[in-house]
Symmetry: D2
Subunit: 137 residues, 4 copies
Amino acid sequence: MLVSTYKLRVRYAETDKMGYAYYGVYSTYLEIARVEALRSIGISYATMESDGIMLPVRDVRLRYRRPLKYDDLFTISTTIASLPEGSRLHFTYQIHNEAGELCTEAETTLVFADAQTGRPIAPPDSFISALRPFVKE
Amino acid sequence: MLVSTYKLRVRYAETDKMGYAYYGVYSTYLEIARVEALRSIGISYATMESDGIMLPVRDVRLRYRRPLKYDDLFTISTTIASLPEGSRLHFTYQIHNEAGELCTEAETTLVFADAQTGRPIAPPDSFISALRPFVKE
Amino acid sequence: MLVSTYKLRVRYAETDKMGYAYYGVYSTYLEIARVEALRSIGISYATMESDGIMLPVRDVRLRYRRPLKYDDLFTISTTIASLPEGSRLHFTYQIHNEAGELCTEAETTLVFADAQTGRPIAPPDSFISALRPFVKE
Amino acid sequence: MLVSTYKLRVRYAETDKMGYAYYGVYSTYLEIARVEALRSIGISYATMESDGIMLPVRDVRLRYRRPLKYDDLFTISTTIASLPEGSRLHFTYQIHNEAGELCTEAETTLVFADAQTGRPIAPPDSFISALRPFVKE
């Protein structure tokens, strides 16, 4: 199981008039967290896109348990539990605040796709090789 | 069943380097769609907040079927199928592009909460009265 | 002088914890307003980009006089006073709230550029032809 | 002169279909940079707001020289050159990419204001005391 953690701080731009991080901005937090999770095992998402492979999101699910507030420093734990199934790659996430309380749970499915055609493709071998040591087959 | 439709256009700010509407911006689309759905039956979310009641999002689920591109004009259909259960209010959504193709499906649960304490509360009577004619009990 | 007006409403996503439209979101408002100003004289920015010409922003200036609040319906007036000078195109903007009060003033300079190389280029003839009837030479 | 530097990375959410950081997102970068500049001399903007003082932006000016691209790591240098004049506080900014090239220049004026009334007020003494050692009178 690949588990990667990353710390972020709630920006003023991300708050709404309730004074909380806006519910839509969590998708951005998840994106940053999974890019950093991949970077931690030597995979650059930017390079992958330059090489003609993109990873659009197929579905997302978010459960908001406690709000994050302006300037809160929080930790996202990102987990990849298994190799891609076909062209699909699954991530789960947990966000904890500085007090260690669970604030948000999420999961996303992404799809390896050809940047030209938009069609699903098999994950590149280099991706599988980098991920395999961490996950169950 | 209350069904409300609203048209929006993809802003340049909302695109990402794939050239599509960024997956995180759909949460904003859903927010606009449900505010307009409530406005269509005489409920102002802005007024409700001024009156001390807020409606934070408890959970969201999005399924992306086809991308929206820059300047695409799309239609969001928002459905409220039933009265709130306790303090929870459920919405479902569908997004179609100009060709009439289904692009996105979503659902959200929101919670009536006291703006001071953040605690769940019963929906205001005026809300129930405005919604009741449209939904099954 | 080409003067185009467009109405927008402040989204919840665009508010910040002060309860106002976040100062950074005005750049998005300006972008929408100028795209609609061009559309009003038959120029599609989306088509222009597909044809390999982009219009990145060179500079922006914003003066915030009165805040916009959540759900405020406001009007942006966009003015193009003259043809492009070389590859530069200048816009000025005013935002008024529903009470008719001036809330924001802005100006931007954009640059016609080749989408492949990023280099400044002359505006396309079709652009000049569409704009000329409205502006002083 | 207080000069503070802060590093940020361009998020995927911040790119647009040109593949660059969207021009509107720089306002967010400036906001983060000035909050961190104040934090570096012991001033918490979050605490100041809790204490009833806010700092809305009065005007902003941005000059885009070179684009930032997805995943670029960049440095913002924030400068406060002098104490507030009346209720106004002035910041200037420079953004450099990893190659050390100047990408963006900016300046903003902010106004100390009462969070209840929105009216301009004198800066708090604690703010002046914290800043005075670094700037010319």
